[in-house]
């Protein structure tokens, strides 16, 4: 298993949310958390372009993606990940403040792996991030490579 060394990509423009999420993700694990602040930076990191052109590390094993992002929003980043042969196997967990059923359905229809509502309460917020980490790092499995011979 490669779960101990996995990279988590956190795409979050709100610095308070990012700080809380990062510390909850890092607790009790050796995985690396890469934080980018907007959708354009997320695309640069994932597609190894712009400031990340020389990045040679592996793709992240899981992506936590805020929906309301500047420049390029979460829906567009999701679409880019799920239409890319190399990236589409990476689980994408959408983070949102909206519980609107239409928003939830729209994300699942576009290929989001999971949809989590950011809790307003501090303890609940941290608890939910820990639950995300426990599931996607310790329980869910991801392939070493996404491209395959069979369709």
């Amino acid at each position: 298993m490669n779960s101990t060394a996995m990279d988590i990509l956190l795409v979050e423009d709100n610095p308070d949310h990012a700080e809380l999420t990062r510390s909850a993700l890092k607790k009790g694990g050796t995985h690396r958390v890469v934080w980018v602040k907007d959708g354009q930076e997320a695309l640069d990191f994932l597609h190894r372009q712009g400031p990340w052109a020389s990045h040679t590390g592996e793709s992240p094993s899981v992506i936590l993606l805020d929906i309301g992002l500047p420049k390029v929003n979460g829906h567009e980043v999701l679409g880019s990940v799920k239409s890319n042969e190399r990236l589409r196997c990476i689980p994408v967990i959408m983070l949102s403040t909206s519980g609107d059923p239409d928003d939830v359905a729209r994300c699942y229809e576009a290929g989001a792996n999971s949809y989590v509502i950011k809790a307003l309460d501090f303890a609940d917020f941290v608890g939910r991030v820990k639950a995300i980490k426990d599931y996607w790092v310790n329980t869910n499995v991801v392939p070493e490579a996404c491209e395959g011979a069979s369709a």
Binding site: C89, S114, R128, V142, E144, S150, A151
Partner: protein, 147 residues
């Protein structure tokens, strides 16, 4: 969360695994109802309200599907492809259950649109524990689409 009773569809041909899964889920959240079908053909009948599931009340739309990879008649991968290729069904999260840590099976599942892939542990207590973890995450942490 204020959600009405949540229907979970379990598609599993191995009766021991099905029984353990049902047991694990029963002891967990009472707000969910589990529907068990034994092969891929039955699963598609359930989802499309065909055959013995023609009455929609006998086969309510699930908000979560647990799908064994290897199934008789229509296998799990085909069921997954059918669900994710159907405009009305594709928003339902599908958790694939695989017997072992098999890379190609896992990658093929994600390519076909699986929301998550989880391996089935060999030991009974570990198996029950894993199913409870899956249930806990999907029913309490993740928001599911409405029925």
């Amino acid at each position: 969360m204020g959600q009405s009773r949540m229907n979970i569809l379990l598609i599993e041909d191995n009766p021991d695994h099905a029984e353990l899964t049902l047991k694990a889920l029963e002891n967990g959240d009472l707000t969910s109802r589990i529907h068990w079908v034994k092969d891929g053909e039955e699963a598609l009948d359930f989802l499309h309200h065909r055959g013995r599931f023609a009455d929609p009340t006998a086969a309510p739309r699930p908000c979560l599907i647990l799908l064994d990879f290897k199934l008789p008649k229509v296998d799990g991968h085909e069921v997954l492809q059918e669900i994710k290729g159907d405009r009305t069904l594709r928003s339902i999260p599908v958790v694939m259950l695989t017997n072992a840590d098999r890379g190609e099976e896992i990658a093929a599942s994600y390519r076909a649109g699986a929301n998550s892939v989880v391996t089935k542990p060999i030991g009974f207590p570990e198996f029950v524990e894993r199913i409870r973890t899956v249930e806990g995450y999907w029913l309490r942490t993740s928001r599911l689409p409405e029925a």
